[in-house]
C-alpha cells in the first residue's frame, strides 16, 4: 500500500496499472472514457495504490453511503407489520424484517420498539433500491448482531474515526479498556453505541471520542496519552 499524492476532483491520473485489462477502483474514482489507461478523480483526498491494480481515495466524507455487507448501528424509526424502518444515516431509511432476528418465527417475533438501537448487517445496498438490513448471519445465528441494550448511549462520530476505531491495530479501544469497563458497538456509518457500569464512565468515554474526532489529523495514540 502506498500513498501517491493529494488529488482534487477533475484531476486525471495517468499510467494506471492493470492486470489483464482490469483495474479495481475504490471510492472517489471514476473511469475516464475519453482516454484509455487513465482514471478521473471525483473526491478530494489522498490517492492510494495497492499492487497490483487497486486504487482508492481517502478523504473526509461526512455522509454515509450504504455498501453491501457493512456492519452498521441504526435507530428504529418506524414499525409497520413485519417491517421496521431503520435510520442508518444514509439518504434513505433502511428496512429490517422482524423475521431477520435469531429465533424469530411468524408466531414469535422479537420485542423491538421504535427508538431501539440495532447493530445490523447490510444485506443489500444498491443505489436504485432501499437498503436492507439483517440481524442474523447466513446460518441464522445472531452472533454479535441484534438489538442493543437501552441502557447504552448513542453518539455520532465522523466516518473516518469510525473506520480508525474498527482498525484492529488501533490502540485506542484497548487502552481505554485498561481504564474503564465498557461495551461498544461501532458502525461504519459513523454511529457509535457505548455502555458502561457507571454513567460517569459513559460520559468520559464520550468525551474521549469527541476529542479524538476533533483531532482527527493528529496521531490517535498521541491524543490517547494526553487524555489518560
Amino acid at each position: 500500500m502506498s500513498q501517491i499524492e493529494f488529488v482534487l476532483p477533475g484531476q486525471v491520473v495517468k499510467d494506471v496499472k492493470s492486470v489483464r485489462g482490469v483495474t479495481i477502483l475504490g471510492p472517489g474514482l471514476r473511469q475516464n472514457e475519453d482516454q484509455p489507461n487513465t482514471i478521473c478523480v471525483t473526491q478530494p483526498g489522498k490517492l492510494y495504490f495497492k499492487s497490483p491494480n487497486v486504487y482508492w481515495i481517502e478523504g473526509n466524507r461526512n455522509r454515509y453511503i450504504p455498501k453491501k455487507y457493512d456492519l452498521v448501528v441504526g435507530v428504529i424509526v418506524k414499525k409497520s407489520g413485519d417491517m421496521l424502518k431503520v435510520d442508518i444515516g444514509s439518504a434513505e431509511h433502511a428496512s429490517l424484517s422482524l423475521l431477520a432476528f435469531e429465533g424469530a418465527t411468524k408466531k414469535q417475533k422479537p420485542d423491538v420498539q421504535v427508538g431501539d438501537i440495532v447493530y445490523a448487517k447490510l444485506l443489500n445496498a444498491h443505489r436504485e433500491m432501499e437498503p436492507e438490513l439483517v440481524c442474523v448471519d447466513s446460518y441464522y445465528r445472531a452472533g454479535t448482531l441484534g438489538v442493543l441494550s437501552n441502557d447504552g448511549f448513542l453518539m455520532n462520530i465522523s466516518l473516518t474515526l469510525a473506520q480508525k476505531l474498527l482498525d484492529i491495530q488501533n490502540p485506542l479501544l484497548r487502552s481505554l479498556g485498561k481504564r474503564f469497563c465498557y461495551e461498544i458497538a461501532v458502525g461504519v456509518n459513523g454511529k457509535l453505541w457505548i455502555n458502561a457500569r457507571k454513567t460517569k464512565d459513559v460520559l468520559n468515554l464520550m468525551k474521549v471520542f469527541q476529542i479524538t474526532d476533533q483531532n482527527a489529523k493528529t496521531d490517535l495514540s498521541e491524543v490517547n496519552k494526553s487524555i489518560l
Binding site: 482534487l8 476532483p9 477533475g10 471514476r30 471525483t42 473526509n60 461526512n62 439518504a91
Partner: protein, 206 residues
Amino acid sequence: METELTKSTFSCKLGILSRPDGSAILSKDNTTVIAGIYGPIEVKLQKLLIDKASVECHYRPKSGLPGIEDRMHESIIRNTCEASLVASLHPRTAVLVAIQELQNSGQLISCAVNAVCLACLHAGIDMKFMFGAVTCFSNGVEMSLNPPAQTHIKAVFVFVFDSTEKRVIASHTKGIFTKEQFEEAVELCRSGSDQVFDYYKKVLTN
C-alpha cells in the same frame, strides 16, 4: 489593466458549521458568504428524479426574506452544481445547498459560487470537476478583476469556469458593453480563474 487578482484578499475557513456535511466561510474584498452542503439526503416526492440526484439551493440575503434577485443567484448556483456534481451516482436523493450572505461589496455571485465549491470539497461529495467564479469590472475603457476605487463602473461580468478545461459553465452580466469587451472579459476571467483553483488547493492541503 489589472490582470492579477490580489491573492491575499481571499480568506476561508472550512467546517465552521456542525450540522451540514460540508461548510465553508469565504471572504474576498469585504464580500463574505457562508455556504453549507447537505447530501445526499432524503428527497421530497415532488422533487424526486429517478435517474439522478436533484439539487436544491437556498439563498438567504443579509436581512429580510429572499427576493427576486436572490432567486436568480440561487438558479445560477443550482445550475453550476448540477453541471459539476456526479448526480447519477445517487439517484432518488437530494443535495441541498444553503447560502447565507454576510457582507456584499460587489462580488457576491462569484464569492457565493466559490464558497459553495469549497463546501462541496469539504463534504467530499463526488464531483466531475471543481468550479471557480471570477468577477470582472469594466469602466467602459479598462477591465479590472479587482473592484475599482472610483465608482464609474459601466459593466460587471461574472463567469464560472470548470477546473479541467477552463470552459465557461455559467455567466452573468450587468450593464452596457460591446461584443469585443465581452470576449475580452471572458479571457481575463479565465486567466484569473487559475488563482481561484490554486487557492482551493492551498486551503484543502493545509
